[in-house]
Symmetry: C2
Subunit: 116 residues, 2 copies
């Protein structure tokens, strides 16, 4: 990942509501969730949600697909992985101590995805 998209992704994640959206969509897996349901789950107005989703989409962290009257949003795991990879390698120069602390905080590696 380059510098500019990484900054956009970091900015997009640096907001409580958008972090909530990401957490929700991560748990929804590839099938994602429609905007209306996301709005109910994270308790924001439709227009607010649309604003935040657009930022996340511009940052490449979510994708949008229209299905009839609904717009389905899904989390882009590859993009998130690329961001973390950027932080680890490009930004932190593959520093082993960063990696060690990072894996201490996240040791488990679940075998199955569970998302359709």
């Amino acid at each position: 990942m380059d510098r500019s998209p990484a900054l956009a992704a970091l900015s997009a994640l640096a907001h409580e509501t958008r972090l909530d959206i990401v957490r929700l969509l991560v748990r929804r897996g590839r099938r994602g969730a429609p905007a209306g349901e996301i709005a109910r789950m994270v308790s924001v107005s439709a227009s607010r949600l649309s604003f935040h989703l657009r930022l996340l989409e511009q940052a490449g962290l979510v994708t949008a697909t229209r299905e009839g009257r609904q717009v389905i949003y899904a989390f882009d795991r590859a993009r998130m992985g690329a961001l973390i990879g950027y932080l680890l390698s490009d930004c932190c120069a593959d520093d082993p101590e960063v990696r060690a602390c990072c894996s201490q905080a996240a040791i488990r590696l679940p075998a199955e995805d569970g998302a359709g």
Copy 2:
């Protein structure tokens, strides 16, 4: 890492100048660098640098130590590792695809890295 410090750290990183500062300090290792030198390296005024360093310090990403007339700033690797761990485990629910993409971007993701 909790939610609130993670948001602070993400906000702190989501700025070009501050990302430059982090990259510089990562390469300086534990001995860090004095504010004046950082200002020269990233080409910002002293007051702006002070402002950005304060944000990074409040986010826990850098530490400050006075040495005579100079103030030495050093990057906190553990904090950065904790942030990435938060993103991977708490935010992305240890999603294996995120981890896979992350390690693709970062060449290697050692399961048990000696950390130095």
